[in-house]
Structures are given as structure tokens and as C-alpha cells.
């Protein structure tokens, strides 16, 4: 089993070439899986991928931030394999895209190695990265969907009346059928376990951070009242008015949504001015990263079970933050989930950003101001020009259910356990 990693490549776009690059992205967006520039469907370890343009912007102190191209992917580790595949499969496509960006190679100097070096030089780390289920690879997701379909087809076509049979009997028939299909041989074994090195690293992190906090405890306990006081002072003064998003902006964003079971979300915003908000945000992102690595790493982000991946990336010398996610359902249901289930978590992060509804003590109110929060979301959202999903017909709940079907397929079961297992179908 391999864990999942987040790729972020941010490259400044050459002056005057933003429209050219948007045109190019448009040609890719009709068929993200097999377009001629970067055919994402040919990469075996990509879960999701996206490209979007961050338009030119004026920061809070009046300085110009030039436009840039953001390329993100959520993929199975190692990241190096993806980078190599990118230059091997889509070398010329990358040239077409990045020739619009500052610092890219001129035609005569392009080599495989230099393309790779360019991508590496533009890579940015995520501040926090959420993975629905750490360790579940693209291959596993596809295989387990295939297994479920095979079982359903068998039940549909077997023409048997199962009523009156015991659960164990029905299960035995299914098992026999699966055994008879050689293409499903893999299903008899459980999915691969994480590598020893990865486990060790995660355990060290899991234990190390609390230990570090314990060591720092005397300092932290003294700093806490000061921090709380400063927080309240900021909260009482830096609240933003509720601004309704422009109808045309909403139409553009909505036009890229709801084609299938999943949707993409990309947004960018400024961090509130001053060191206090910046440090608070960086601290919260550290905590969020700890939470997603060790607590919310299996199918559930504090009650929300519809998010495949999400990340925060701090950019522009800590002036702005990008948030990007892949989720199931409509934006309305996504926002409602946020408000109803994880408002506290969102508040802790986003209230350090400009324009967020007023919070109290960092985690209260904020997103609970339903319409102000929804307005904030749409106002800060930006169009995701190209978006690819390796399994667009599956929700996170479907994927989790498929994994349970596979996990239970070969185990010894009692009648009650078999009954439960059959309920997964």
C-alpha cells in the first residue's frame, strides 16, 4: 500500500499571455482524460488533477501579484514517479503549457531532464492535506469497484430466488462465483499494507508532536492568555461586510459544476494583514495537518464523508492561501455540510482570511452565519479550467463500501456477519 501525496506546481504566466493559456486550458477541459496536451487518463497513479489560472491581483498593500498557473494533482506516492511520467507521457504538452510561463526553457534547450528540473523548481508544499482514506490507491479503487459490479451482475443474472436461503449460503454462492473469475483473483487477498518506513514515519510524527508540545507546555500556557487577548482584539476589529457575489461570476463557476457525482472547488484569498493572523493561520494549518494525518485519515472528516481530497497551500510570501478540494454532490450540499458539521474547523482556518464572516474565539459563529458564509465561498472561488477525476462515477461513500465488500470477501464469517456483509450489496 502506498500513501497519497499532493503535487502543486505554481508558475508565473508571461505578461500578456493569460488569455492564450486560458484558451489552451479550454481545449484540454473538454476531455481531461484523453486530451492531446496532458492526457490524465493515461497516468495510473493520479486520483485527481486540475489546472487553473490565478489572475493578476493587487495585494492589501497595493503591490501587484502577477498572474500564475496552478497545476495540482492528488496521486499515489512516490511523487517522483508522477513527475517522471509527466515528462515521459506529456513532455510536449508540458512545453505547450509552460512556454507561456516565465523561466521556461527555450525550444532549443528542452531536454527530458530540464523539463523535470523545471517542474521541481516550481513545486510548492501544501500547508495541510486531507486524504479521505490514507493508503487507498487508484488501482485499489478501480479494482474494488469492478469486484462490486461483478457481484451485482452475478446476483442480477443468476435467476435464483434467494428468499429462504441463509446469508451464509448466499455468500458461499457469491464467493464461488468470484473464485471462478480469474480476473478477480486479487480480490481474495486483502489490500497491501503500508510500508514499514511509512508506518514508522507516521508513528514518530504522531508521538513526536505531542511530546514537543509537552516540552513547550510552560511557554504555551503563558502565551495562551496573550494570544487569546490578541485574538479577541482582532476579531472585534477585523470583521468584514457581507458581500453578495456577482451573478455573472456565479454563473461562470456554476457552469463548471454538477456534471457527475463529484465536483471540484478552488479558491484563493488574502491572509488578514499583520503578523498575528499570519502566525495564527500557520499554527492552525500545522494542527490541521496533524489532524488529517492521524485523526481524520479514514473516510470521515469530522462527520463529513463526502470529501475525497482537500488542501491548503500558502503562497505569495505568506500573503495568500489557496484552498482546493474534490468532493461529492453540489456546492450547496458541500457548504451545508460545512455549516452543519465542521463549522468550527473552517472557522479556525478561514477566519484568518480577509472577508470571512465574524467569528468569536476563533471557532464560534463564522460559517454559522449561513448566507454570509455562502457568499464568502462564492466570492473567493475561482474557475477550475481543467479538472480530471480517475473515478468520477464513485462517491467517497461508494468507495468506502466497495472496500468493505472486498475486505469481507474471504474472511470466515458467522451467519450474523454474513448478513451484515450482504447488506453492503
Amino acid at each position: 500500500m502506498t500513501h497519497q501525496v499532493a503535487l502543486t506546481i505554481i508558475a508565473e504566466i508571461k505578461a500578456g499571455e493569460v488569455e492564450d493559456i486560458k484558451q489552451l486550458l479550454k481545449t484540454m477541459s473538454d476531455n481531461a482524460a484523453c486530451n492531446s496536451i496532458i492526457p490524465f487518463g493515461k497516468f495510473s497513479n493520479i486520483h485527481f488533477a486540475r489546472l487553473f489560472v490565478l489572475d493578476e491581483s493587487i495585494d492589501l498593500s497595493g503591490r501587484l501579484i502577477p498572474p500564475c498557473l496552478v497545476f495540482m494533482s492528488e496521486c499515489d506516492a512516490p511523487l517522483d514517479r508522477l513527475l517522471n511520467e509527466l515528462v515521459d507521457i506529456a513532455g510536449e504538452g508540458l512545453d505547450k503549457v509552460y512556454s507561456h510561463c516565465v523561466d521556461y526553457l527555450s525550444l532549443s534547450e528542452i531536454t527530458r531532464k530540464r523539463r523535470l528540473a523545471y517542474l521541481r523548481s516550481k513545486m510548492v508544499n501544501a500547508g495541510a492535506f486531507y486524504v479521505n482514506t490514507v493508503g487507498r490507491t487508484v488501482q485499489q479503487i478501480h479494482q474494488e469497484a469492478q469486484l462490486r459490479n461483478a457481484i451485482q451482475d452475478f446476483l442480477d443474472h443468476s435467476q435464483q430466488d434467494w428468499s429462504g436461503r441463509s446469508s451464509l449460503e448466499v455468500r458461499a454462492k457469491i464467493q464461488a462465483y468470484i473464485r471462478s473469475d480469474r480476473t478477480l483473483n486479487w480480490a481474495r487477498n486483502p489490500p497491501a499494507q503500508p510500508g514499514l518506513f511509512f508506518k514508522l514515519k507516521e508513528t514518530l510524527h504522531l508521538v513526536g508532536i505531542p511530546l514537543l508540545l509537552l516540552v513547550l507546555f510552560p511557554v504555551l500556557i503563558l502565551a495562551l492568555p496573550v494570544w487569546l487577548l490578541l485574538l479577541r482584539i482582532h476579531e472585534l476589529s477585523d470583521a468584514a461586510p457581507d458581500i453578495k457575489p456577482d451573478d455573472a461570476h456565479v454563473e461562470e463557476l456554476a457552469g463548471l459544476e454538477d456534471f457527475g457525482a463529484q465536483n471540484q472547488f478552488s479558491a484563493v484569498g488574502y491572509i488578514k494583514p499583520g503578523w498575528f493572523r499570519r502566525l495564527t493561520l500557520l499554527g492552525i494549518l500545522l494542527a490541521a495537518n496533524y489532524g488529517t494525518r492521524h485523526i481524520f485519515n479514514k473516510e470521515n472528516l469530522a462527520g463529513v464523508k463526502t470529501i475525497h481530497f482537500a488542501r491548503w497551500v500558502v503562497i505569495d510570501e505568506q500573503r495568500r492561501v489557496i484552498f482546493a478540494s474534490n468532493y461529492d454532490g453540489s456546492l450547496e450540499s458541500y457548504m451545508d455540510d460545512f455549516i452543519d458539521k465542521v463549522a468550527w474547523g473552517l472557522n479556525a482556518v478561514f477566519s484568518n482570511g480577509v472577508g470571512y464572516p465574524k467569528t468569536n474565539w476563533l471557532i464560534f459563529n463564522g460559517a454559522k452565519d449561513e448566507q454570509a458564509f455562502k457568499n464568502y465561498i462564492r466570492v473567493h472561488q475561482i474557475p477550475t479550467q481543467v479538472w480530471y477525476s480517475a473515478y468520477e462515477y464513485l462517491t467517497a461513500l461508494n468507495i468506502a463500501n466497495n472496500a468493505k465488500i472486498r475486505a469481507g470477501l474471504s474472511r470466515n464469517m458467522s451467519e450474523t456477519e454474513a448478513e451484515e456483509w450482504l447488506r453492503l450489496l
Binding site: 448466499v170 451573478d247 456554476a254 462527520g303 454532490g329 450547496e332 461508494n398
Partner: protein, 471 residues
């Protein structure tokens, strides 16, 4: 403490469905002369039925599209305060995807409300005790259209099927009760007035956004003050958004599919299983009795039963399938974060609508449909004029339609859009009936209901109508 409802300012249809007034029609109108129409409206405001008294003989209500309100001359800064859904309308390309209005239901093919149909500014809704009385009322309005600056786009008639819809099932049983109204219901069905009326607190304890004016813009003082205390006057208060969709039902298609899918091994029809499967798709038997309470046969004594939740009794869908129409349109306590909990019910209360639909078109008898080839009555169009009221179209009607009803992945399912009204992909949808020891399922489910017209309206309070007429 619940807000007291200002019943004399609230249009009657929001408070009650006028079940005693068996005849109804909806007139879609275009405003040809805003000046004349406003004079007419100022008089009409005295005639509109309010929520104060239950009418015994007749009722009249009115609602406007965005285009209609704009024609009356409201300033653009105020117009922009209406919700995005109302402003952009039901027929935008994205909304069609969201609502499943694609292929045969595409707005491009709609009889009314679509981009190729005549523009609609308002709807006049008339109710009477019988068709004869109704036609008298209608004639009186119709003969003065020209004097009042109006053009009739379309008259939509309705039919009284005694509480059943065309597939043969008792409809409209579960309705939320507005907190602060005289009616009472269990807490799960008692919903804050602000979910249906603007200017009142909603289930978040907040006021839904609505058009608000500086008092100076209302010099005659028509409008009520903003109850949230901003000092503005409130054009939205006591108003509600009305979603209107004309849903055509393929009654023959429905029963033929079920007949084919439930045949005995010898090829003969099995009426008992056929009816049971149809009822499993609905989630209630033809009488209305919920499958949750009586999974094996109809029981008319339970026809109006509505005080139930799903999860405690039937967590796995063995009584009422998870994907049944009523279990997804109103999942009660079924959903995350914790099915069966108060928290689940609280989430559900933010996604409720007041349904006010009526049937149209001549009824057909399912048994006859399956035995006789074709009758003349069958060729006629029939279905439901689906009307619902809510304060936030996006969080209520559209959420229910997209995230619950039309979602193939609803509550952990894979490919099961609503078996009755869902949009399925071209190979047909799936309907899973959870059972012991293992599920049964139908595949290749065709679409039985299509959309042939629709629009988003705003149904203002009486004082707001007087204000609009004064512009």
C-alpha cells in the same frame, strides 16, 4: 419564542392548500403595460386571499417572475437583493443539469417558461368550489386583460383526483407546519416560519436575505419595518419564493414497466407483486399508508400516518427501501452525521418545502391501461402541477431535488435516482430493494416523469404588492 405570523399580510396559499376548493387554475400572464397593470394590481391587492381566514367559496393568489417585478419598475439595486436563483431563473444551463432537466425535460422543449417560450411575468392562481364557479371567476378576469395591460400566455387547468396523483397514490400527506401558526405537529415537522416566509427567523436562527429599502424610498409607508432591526423597510417580509414545475406523468409507461418486471415465471401478470413493487418505489401504498409501518400490505387506517422516523425502526431499508421516493424527498432521521439522532433531524429541517401542487389532465385506470390497447383519454397529457414554497430556493427546493431526489448516490446508493420522478442515464436507472438475505433490484428503469414547463416566482406579502403597484 416564535414570531407571530402576520396572517393578514401573508398570501393564503402559503398558509393553506385550499383543500376544500376543489377547482383551480393557474393563469400565466405577460405584462404589456406596466402602467395599467399597476393600477389593476393596486385594486387586486384588496381581493387577494390572505392567510387570515379559511376561504369557503373562492380564493385568489398572485406571484411574479423576476422579469415581472422588474417591469413594475423596482430599482436595480433593490432587484439585485433577490436571490440569485430567482434572478437567473429556473432554466439556466447549469440549473438544468442541477435539477435533471435534460433530454426530454430540457427547457428548450418546454411548453412554458423555457427560453423558446413566451416570456412570463406573473401567475394568477384561482381556486373555487367547483369548475363552474371557477370559470365564472376566470371569465371576469379574462375579459378585462386588455384594460389592465395584461396578456394571457397560458391557462393551466387542474383536475381533482380526490387526493391521489395519476399513478394512483395518495399524495401530499407530509407537510411541514409553520412555527407560530395555529396548527400543531410533532417537533420534526414543526419548522421555523423563516424557512417559508421572508422576514422571519429560519432554522439557523437567522433572517434569509431579501430586498430591503431605505425608509425614504417608501414615502407612503406601505412596507413593514425590517424585524431584524436594521432600520430599513422590508419588501420581502411575508413573501415566499414559489417554485412551479409542470410534471408530465407517463402512466402507461409506469405500470407497463412494473408489469413486465414482476411477471410470474409462466409469463402471466402478478398484480400483487406489481402493486407491492410500485408501492416500494413510492414508499407508501396507494392509500398513503407508509411501508415503514405496514411493509407487506396496504392498510387504509394508516393512510395519513406521518409521525414516524425511519432509522430507529428500519435502518437497513427492509420495510421501506432506502431509495423510495418518500424516504429521499424527506429522509427525516435517515442521514449523516448520525442517523437516528436529533442532529440528523435538525439537518433535515433545513431542507423542507411546503407543497401546493394539483393534478392536471384526465385520469386513466392502470388496470384498464394494461388490458386495453389504447384509449383516447390516454393520448392526452396528464401529470402534476408541482408547486412549492420556500424562503431559500437553493437550500430547500434545489437541494432536495439534486442532493436527495435526483441523486443516484443518495444515502450510499450507487445508481439509484428517484424511481418515480428521477432522471436516469440512457441505459436506465437502478432501483434497489433492500431485503434478507440479499437485495433485489430493478435495472433499466426508464424515466416516468418529465418536465414540460416551469418558472421561479416570488409571492409577495399584500403590503409589498401595494408598494409595487405604487411605483
Amino acid at each position: 419564542m416564535a414570531d407571530t405570523l402576520e396572517l393578514q399580510d401573508i398570501q393564503g396559499l402559503i398558509i393553506r392548500g385550499y383543500g376544500n376548493l376543489k377547482a383551480a387554475c393557474y393563469i400565466l400572464l405577460e405584462i404589456s403595460s406596466p402602467r395599467l397593470a399597476k393600477i389593476w394590481l393596486s385594486t387586486l391587492a384588496n381581493t387577494i386571499t390572505t392567510g387570515q381566514v379559511r376561504p369557503d367559496e373562492k380564493a385568489l393568489n398572485v406571484a411574479f417572475t423576476y422579469a415581472g417585478i422588474k417591469k413594475l419598475g423596482l430599482e436595480s439595486a433593490i432587484l439585485a437583493m433577490f436571490s440569485n436563483e430567482f434572478i437567473t431563473g429556473i432554466a439556466t444551463p447549469h440549473r438544468s443539469l442541477l435539477l435533471g432537466d435534460i433530454e426530454e425535460s430540457s427547457p428548450l422543449r418546454w411548453i412554458w417558461g423555457g427560453p423558446n417560450a413566451r416570456p412570463i411575468d406573473m401567475v394568477l392562481m384561482m381556486f373555487a368550489v367547483n369548475d363552474h364557479e371557477l370559470s365564472d371567476i376566470y371569465d371576469a378576469y379574462a375579459k378585462s386583460y386588455a384594460d389592465n395591460g395584461l396578456l394571457e400566455v397560458l391557462k393551466l387547468d387542474t383536475v381533482d383526483l380526490g387526493g391521489k396523483e395519476h399513478f394512483g397514490f395518495h399524495d401530499g400527506i407530509s407537510q411541514p407546519v409553520l412555527e407560530g401558526s395555529p396548527r400543531t405537529a410533532i417537533s420534526m415537522n414543526t419548522i421555523k416560519a423563516g424557512e417559508f416566509l421572508l422576514g422571519y427567523l429560519n432554522e439557523y436562527g437567522l433572517y434569509t436575505d431579501r430586498p430591503m429599502l431605505k425608509p425614504a424610498m417608501d414615502p407612503k409607508g406601505f412596507l413593514p419595518h425590517d424585524s431584524s432591526g436594521s432600520g430599513n423597510v422590508d419588501l420581502g417580509r411575508n413573501g415566499s419564493y414559489l417554485v412551479f414545475r409542470q410534471l408530465r406523468q407517463d402512466v402507461r409507461g409506469f405500470w407497463q414497466f412494473l408489469d413486465g418486471a414482476t411477471k410470474n415465471p409462466d409469463g402471466s401478470s402478478n398484480p400483487t407483486t406489481r402493486l407491492k413493487r410500485a408501492s416500494q418505489m413510492v414508499g407508501r401504498w396507494p392509500s398513503g399508508a407508509p411501508l415503514l409501518k405496514t411493509p407487506n400490505q396496504d392498510d387504509p387506517r394508516l393512510a395519513d400516518a406521518n409521525d414516524f422516523a425511519y432509522y430507529q425502526t428500519d435502518p437497513y431499508g427492509f420495510n421501506c427501501p432506502i431509495g423510495a421516493h418518500v424516504r429521499r424527498a424527506n429522509p427525516r432521521d435517515s442521514l449523516d452525521p448520525e442517523p437516528g439522532s436529533e442532529q440528523s433531524i435538525a439537518v433535515g429541517k433545513r431542507h423542507r418545502i411546503l407543497r401546493r401542487g394539483r393534478e392536471y389532465g384526465p385520469p386513466v385506470d392502470p388496470a384498464e391501461l394494461l388490458s386495453v390497447k389504447k384509449t383516447t383519454a390516454e393520448d392526452q397529457d396528464r401529470g402534476l402541477h408541482f408547486l412549492c414554497l420556500n424562503a431559500n430556493i437553493s437550500r430547500q427546493f434545489e437541494f432536495i431535488q439534486h442532493t436527495w431526489v435526483n441523486n443516484p448516490h443518495f444515502n450510499g446508493l450507487y445508481d439509484d435516482a428517484d424511481p418515480i420522478i428521477g432522471t436516469h442515464h440512457l441505459d436506465g436507472g437502478t432501483f434497489t430493494i433492500q431485503a434478507k438475505p440479499v437485495r433485489k433490484r430493478f435495472t433499466g428503469l426508464p424515466r416516468f416523469v418529465s418536465v414540460v414547463g416551469g418558472a421561479y416566482f416570488f409571492m409577495p406579502g399584500i403590503r409589498a404588492i401595494r408598494y409595487l403597484a405604487s411605483l
